[in-house]
């Protein structure tokens, strides 16, 4: 060890002969010595000499050893400078007072060389250990500060990419702990261009930075694809594929994906590894949507099943989703909150209280209130009347960049691709290259998707929309749609898009042709109009055509309905004082 290294020793003793003995003894032991005759001199010398060990006589003129020890310990601060009292005292009380004053040990007279050497060695080891500990503590403190700083920075970057989307919509309530990204929880919501929204709630295996890094591509895919009009299962497939490629084995993301449509009052739900999603019917029973899939990032794309369960809902129904942290919340007895308590809390909830508040309150009283440190992520979605949910695409800033203005394109989907692929995101993407059109993405998407749905279901597949007027027919319609899609062959759907500029903005002409027999569009419009004028039981099929007429400048069918043309005139936003509105 470092026993052989010379120490710097400061001595204070008023007795000349004692001082001489000690000083000589220390020098013989190979140490450096400064000797003073009283406490005051020792205190004065201490800051510049910075000794490793201080030896103090107890009784000295001017300043006694006990006072000097206090001052020296105060000056040394966090550093350990052993103070050893020199004494011929033998009574225990007096010795104890020396230690109370901050002394670390004492040496009794007559001095013994071997004992002094042993004590100095012991104190030096203690001093070294203290120094090592202090350095390591400082290092840990610094590392921790760095880590927190990096986490704050990472959180800022993360929040920019994985922003909360439309989580602040009136019909969404949510709770996430402040640093949730570092416990691996994610919660995103994004409006769909055609109306409605996607919500993704998830929980990564693992904690800390790895979990947060995995969340970033999910956010990009989720917001990117949802804004472009991709459906929930398209988003799920892409996320699963991406996570499968980037995450190490054993790391995955338990998640639930919700696709909400407020026009049709429908929910599509996919649950892979999260606790049961709870659908609270207004005034009715609860339905549980248990996990039916493996978490995201486990299965390869060939085996991954992105099928979402369809639920018909009414305004006033509420969907409640949560991560494992809810069921795993522990009280002081290390009991888990669990499904039983969750069920009981919902059973006994006061009428009118939002379910998410009920659950949060119940967990808080169960765990005994440590709200700042929870690991809880919950979100609830209220089903609302479509017109109460406002999209925000209109508020997007207009790009100052000039994009394509005069263009024409034809895109044709053929044969079994019709059963597997939706051309809508691609077509929307092409249209969104026109800067002024970006704010109209919801309109364009609605037009494209209505044209496509009509062409595919009525044109190519030959389904009659009359089927959809009864609930039974509705489900028959969709099962028949699936069946016929599997057999489709020799068909096509062709989109022709033409865009040109006008004085006020631009004109987009969308033509959609299909290879089907055509359908009687005129009767549908009549039916839809009748519904508009008072019938509350709105027919799904009529709604689309009405919507298209309302959005498009003109809608024209030809070739017995197998060719539809829409002219969409759009205007540039007027520049308001203070910027583009």
């Amino acid at each position: 060890m470092t026993d052989s290294k010379p120490l710097r020793i400061l001595i204070a003793d008023d007795s000349d002969s004692d001082r001489l003995i000690l000083k000589t003894l220390m020098k013989r032991l190979g140490h450096q010595v400064r000797a003073t005759a009283n406490g005051s001199e020792a205190v004065a010398i201490f800051p510049e000499y910075l000794p490793d060990v201080v030896l103090l006589d107890v009784m000295m003129p001017v300043m006694d050893g006990i006072t000097a020890a206090r001052e020296i310990k105060a000056m040394a601060g966090e550093e350990l400078v052993p103070v050893i009292f020199l004494t011929s005292l033998t009574d225990a009380g007096a010795l104890a007072r020396c230690l109370d004053a901050g002394g670390d040990d004492f040496l009794t007279k007559p001095y013994n060389k071997i004992i002094i050497q042993a004590k100095l060695g012991a104190f030096n080891r203690m001093r070294q250990m203290h120094k090592t500990l202090s350095q390591q503590r400082d290092l840990i403190r610094e590392r921790n500060r760095q880590l927190l700083e990096e986490q704050q920075l990472a959180k800022r970057v993360f929040d920019n990419i994985a922003h909360t989307g439309c989580l602040n919509a009136d019909n969404i309530r949510h709770h996430v702990s402040p640093m949730s990204i570092f416990n691996g929880d994610i919660l995103f919501a994004c409006p769909r261009p055609a109306g409605g929204m996607h919500i993704l709630i998830g929980d990564f295996t693992g904690h800390g930075l790895p979990a947060a890094i995995g969340a970033l591509p999910i956010a990009e895919i989720f917001y990117g694809m949802t804004s472009m009009g991709f459906s929930g299962n398209d988003v799920l497939r892409e996320v699963n594929d991406k996570l499968g490629r980037i995450l190490p084995t054993g790391m995955f993301c338990c998640a639930a994906m919700i696709q909400a449509d407020f026009h049709l009052n429908q929910l599509r739900i996919w649950n892979g590894g999260l606790p049961d999603v709870v659908l609270l019917r207004k005034g009715g029973p609860r339905e549980l949507v248990p996990s039916r899939h493996l978490p995201l990032g486990v299965l390869d794309s060939a085996r991954f099943d992105a099928t979402m369960e369809l639920f018909h809902t009414s305004a006033g129904d509420t969907l409640l989703m949560m991560t494992d942290g809810v069921l795993e919340a522990e009280n002081e007895q290390a009991e888990r909150y669990g499904e039983g308590r969750l069920k009981q809390a919902l059973d006994t909830a006061p009428a009118g209280e939002p379910p998410i508040d009920t659950v949060l309150g119940a967990i808080r009283s169960f765990t005994g209130e440590q709200s700042g440190h929870d690991d809880l992520t919950l979100v609830s979605l209220d089903m609302v009347v479509a017109s109460d949910f406002h999209e925000s695409a209109e508020r997007l800033p207009q790009s100052a960049l000039k994009g394509p203005a005069q263009w024409h394109c034809v895109y044709e989907v053929r044969d079994d691709t019709l059963a597997q692929f939706s051309p809508l995101p691609l077509l929307l993407h092409i249209c969104m290259e026109v800067p002024g059109l970006r704010r109209k993405s919801a309109d364009i998407y609605t037009l494209l998707s209505e044209l496509y749905t009509n062409a595919l279901e009525h044109g190519v597949l030959g389904l009659s929309s009359d089927l959809k007027t009864s609930p039974d027919g509705f489900s028959y319609y969709y099962s028949e749609r699936e069946r016929r899609l599997e057999q489709v062959s020799g068909h096509y759907i062709r989109f022709t898009l033409t865009h040109s500029m006008t004085r006020k903005g631009g004109k987009l002409i969308i033509t959609c042709e299909d290879s089907g027999q055509g359908f009687d569009h005129s009767s549908q419009i009549t039916t839809g109009a009748a519904d508009e004028s008072g019938n509350a039981n709105i027919k799904y099929s009529g709604r689309g055509l009405l919507l298209m007429q309302k959005l498009g400048h003109s809608l024209r069918y030809s070739e017995y309905g197998s060719r539809a043309e829409i002219v969409y005139d759009w205007e540039l936003a007027i520049k308001q004082p203070g910027g583009w509105s």
Binding site: S15, D16, S17, I21, T24, S88
Partner: protein, 114 residues
């Protein structure tokens, strides 16, 4: 009444070993300090200052023990206690005893000097 030896031969030998060339300086320093202290003890009695008396006796005690004169140390301890207990009337007798013992030590130590 005092069963301590006059001189601790072992302690003295160790001191010689440690101090080497400076042993003589040490002995001379001790002898000079000690006779100074004896006069301090006397003057403290004269000025009726038990506190100063006790402190001088304390220092004298420490250095006597260190130099290897335990009986002198023991006498100094008694003087120190008398001072602390404010019994200066008894102090003169103790100082007399100290002086006698010191002269004895002085004689012996001078024989150690080269």
């Amino acid at each position: 009444m005092n069963d301590k030896p006059h001189l601790d031969e072992e302690a003295l030998t160790e001191l010689q070993d440690v101090m080497e060339d400076e042993f003589d300086v040490l002995i001379e320093t001790y002898l000079k300090d000690s006779s100074d202290r004896i006069s301090h003890l006397r003057s403290a009695i004269g000025s009726a200052d038990p506190d100063a008396f006790a402190r001088t006796a304390h220092s004298f005690k420490g250095s006597s023990i260190n130099i290897g004169a335990p009986m002198l140390g023991e006498l100094c301890l008694r003087a120190e206690e008398a001072g602390k207990d404010n019994r200066l009337d008894e102090a003169s007798d103790v100082v007399d005893a100290i002086e006698v013992e010191f002269q004895r030590i002085e004689q012996t130590l001078k024989r150690f000097l080269a």
